[in-house]
Amino acid sequence: MSKEMMKPTSKDLEFSTFYVGTTLCGINILKIEEINKHFNITTVPQSSDYIKGILNLRGRIITIIDLGKKLGLDSVEKNKDTRNIIVNSNDEHIGLVVNGISDVVVVREDDIEAVPSNINGVKGKNFKGVLKTEKQLIGILDIDEILKE
């Protein structure tokens, strides 16, 4: 965890950050159910190409989505850093495969800036905003928008 982490106050937001390709992205931590390394995935023929398959997570069937492909970037190749972020979107649990997990950052709401018209070729509407840290920019993802059909 980084040094700049502070105790969150009611006005602060916490973002879990992770890599999709080389892009650092963040999701509001309250959206996340869990992060795991389950990859015993059953492929689903005839589904969209960004769908990796389905997974049994303690008796629930969960759709696993390749976040890289979904955002129009390169597909996420599996290695030791690959993680599965289970998010809760519209009462459904959905797994997002990402290239690696990074820190949890705490920011004030007004620190988030509007999306520049073009970040790394990703469609702007998938982002809620951009967060500037000392090292890098973090794209804040709009999960509900991304997971819309």
Binding site: V44, P45, S47, I54, I61, T63, I65, E149
Partner: protein, 622 residues
């Protein structure tokens, strides 16, 4: 509907669903559930004890106990969801009474099997199709009272709604004693609405004609009323029933009434399924859709699988069954394990009947290498013929939904299991090939196949398919009709002839010395009489017979007299299609020519021949 059943099973802690439905459960049943829960806890304690003390025996006993309790618990929980069908059937008394008053008909409704229980979700979704079918019976089936009296029926029509259990399914039968379905009227409506062409119609069976009423947009009603005539009904009823995993069957006798039978599964939450493998994944095939499993051994594949156009079929007990490769339908890349070095390679076969060959695999890499390996494999093949490996056998699951029946080629067949149906996420809703997913014993997920949707993606359309089959059947009947048994023989070296077998009495062989020449006629002593002998050259413009020691004679019986025709062997009986060319080689005594066994064969007209030889035999006729 699976979605709703799934929600009921969801764990507490989920956001409550907006539907706040409740269900009435017998207290006795609740007590049973409570008891079973108690036993389950007991079983768990025993199991934990057995495991911690590493007592295998105790563990085994308690695992058996838990197995039993789980089954009982499953059944009891299922029963809480079961509702008597009377809940919906009782409504029909009113529906029928209102409708019959509106239309001026008098109808009695008979309800049977009120205590049959069905899963709540099924019960809810069967309501609409049932209402439609009963309305149909009232509106189209039952005649007006005076009309009924005229044809000697009781002026009061009877509609029966009967529910009963049969073979693990619930059957609902709607029958009426009305006018029944008129196939001709259905046909006219189908043609005028453009569902079918006249040609297609001509080739349909009565049963197929009746099934036309299940077509979307079909209606025979001349005008649209608030009861019927919009043409959406039957199609929707069938779709609803099929989406519940059920089947609709129709039977009707004109003038006597119509019987519609609906077969439904008891519950949707747990279904028995056949587990199959395609590619690297397992799939569940609902047992209701499965009619049989076929295995065609590697040696037989070539003979049994036939190609019609670009589709493959298998002949199953005289019926042509369309075949589909499930991996192709689903778009899975087919692979196979090379038997020599265990590499997984992409499938390259185009036809099922094609055998695998190393030669083509390597041609892609380079020709020289291909040649070398070709030599190698050639040598290996002398020891073991790869083409007839047991692995090359075809596994076919023959599946059927109400209107479709086809064979699915799968990689492997496994056990039949009871699976718990779970719904899939919203991103997969548009993949219509699956009804849901299930969790297998090892924790991995398997998809449940939707047989009727797969048939549709495969381009298997009900009507066209049945028409096609009807055409094939008609063609078969036609060829049967035109098939004739012929006796095929030769005159001299290269002239082939045939005569109808039914006119032939016997085939004899005489010594040439026994044949007597009297005037210009030849006779032979035969069965205490003289048998006149002729040869074809006497009548026809053909070569005369060569001299031989023995002479083969075909004995014909015409007008109760026997005559012998001298011929040259081989003489062979054969059943052939009568596709005669009646012009090219036509001459007196020959009715035409056709091709039999790649020889142009002339069909001898025995009557005309004898008429020319012995006109006096026919004198009394003219």
């Amino acid at each position: 509907m699976i979605e709703t059943s799934e929600r009921i099973f969801d764990k507490p802690g989920d956001k409550p669903q907006k539907t706040n439905t409740s269900i009435r459960v017998n207290v006795g049943l609740l007590d049973t559930l409570m008891n079973l829960a108690g036993e389950l806890v007991l079983g768990r304690n025993q199991l934990l004890q057995g495991v911690s003390s590493s007592n295998t025996k105790a563990t085994e006993v308690s695992s058996q106990r838990i197995d039993m309790i789980t089954s009982e618990l499953q059944e009891a929980i299922m029963r809480t969801r079961m509702q008597p069908i009377a809940n919906i059937l009782s409504k029909f008394t009113r529906v029928v009474r209102d409708l019959s008053q509106q239309s001026g008909k008098s109808i009695d409704l008979v309800l049977e099997g009120n205590d049959v229980e069905l899963d709540k979700t099924i019960l809810e979704s069967i309501n609409d199709p049932l209402i439609h079918l009963v309305r149909n019976s009232v509106h189209h089936g039952i005649e007006m009272p005076d009309e009924r009296e005229k044809i000697g029926k009781n002026p009061i029509g009877i509609i029966t709604l009967k529910a009963f259990h049969d073979a693990g399914q619930v059957n609902i039968v709607i029958s009426d004693d009305g006018r029944g379905l008129d196939p001709q009227k259905i046909l006219r409506a189908a043609v005028s609405k453009g569902h079918l062409t006249d040609q297609e119609v001509a080739q349909m069976s009565e049963k197929q004609k009746m099934k036309l009423i299940f077509l979307p947009g079909f209606s025979t009603a001349k005008e649209v009323t608030d009861v019927s005539g919009r043409g959406v009904g039957m199609d929707v009823a069938v779709t609803n029933v099929e989406s519940l995993g059920g089947v609709i069957e129709l039977d009707s006798t004109p003038g006597e009434g119509t019987v519609i039978q609906i077969k439904l599964p008891l519950t949707l939450a747990i279904i028995p399924s056949q587990i199959i493998t395609v590619g690297n994944e397992r799939y569940a095939l609902p047992q209701v859709n499965l009619s049989e499993l076929l295995r065609i051994s590697a040696a037989e594949v070539k003979d049994k699988i036939e190609r019609v156009g670009d589709s493959e079929v298998v002949r199953l007990r005289g019926e042509l069954l369309p075949l589909f490769d499930l991996s192709k339908l689903l778009g899975i890349e087919e692979t196979y394990i090379d038997p020599e070095n265990n590499d997984e390679l992409l499938e390259r076969r185009k036809n099922i009947a094609d055998r695998r060959s190393k030669k083509h695999a390597l041609l892609k890499d380079g020709k020289t290498r291909a040649l070398n390996t070709f030599e190698d494999t050639k040598q290996e093949r002398t020891t073991k013929d790869r083409r007839y490996h047991a692995e090359s056998a075809l596994n076919i699951a023959v599946v059927a939904t109400g209107t479709f029946k086809y064979g699915l080629i799968v990689d492997d067949l496994h056990d039949s299991e009871e699976i718990v149906v779970k719904s899939v996420g919203r991103h997969l809703k548009k993949c219509t090939a699956y009804t849901g997913a299930t969790i297998m014993g090892d924790g991995k997920v398997a998809l449940i196949l939707n047989i009727s949707n797969i048939a549709q993606t495969a381009g298997l359309s009900t009507v066209s398919e049945s028409v096609k089959l009807a055409k094939a059947a008609d063609k078969a009947a036609e060829t049967c009709k035109d098939k004739a048994a012929l006796l095929i023989f030769k005159n001299s070296g290269s002239e082939h002839f045939a005569a109808p077998l039914n006119m032939v009495e016997r085939i004899e062989r005489f010594k040439t010395s026994a044949i007597e020449q009297i005037g210009n006629k030849k006779v032979v002593q035969y069965r205490g009489g003289a048998l006149p002998l002729y040869e074809l050259s006497q009548v026809l413009d053909v070569e005369s017979l060569p001299e031989k020691d023995q002479q083969e004679v075909i004995v014909f019986k015409v007008k109760n007299r026997e005559i012998g025709l001298m011929v040259t062997p081989p003489i062979d009986a054969n059943e052939v299609n009568l596709e005669m060319d009646e012009s090219t080689l036509r001459q007196p005594g020959i009715s035409g020519s056709m091709s039999i066994n790649d020889h142009t064969t002339l069909l001898v007209d025995i009557f005309e021949m004898i008429k020319r030889l012995n006109p006096e035999w026919f004198a009394d006729e003219t």
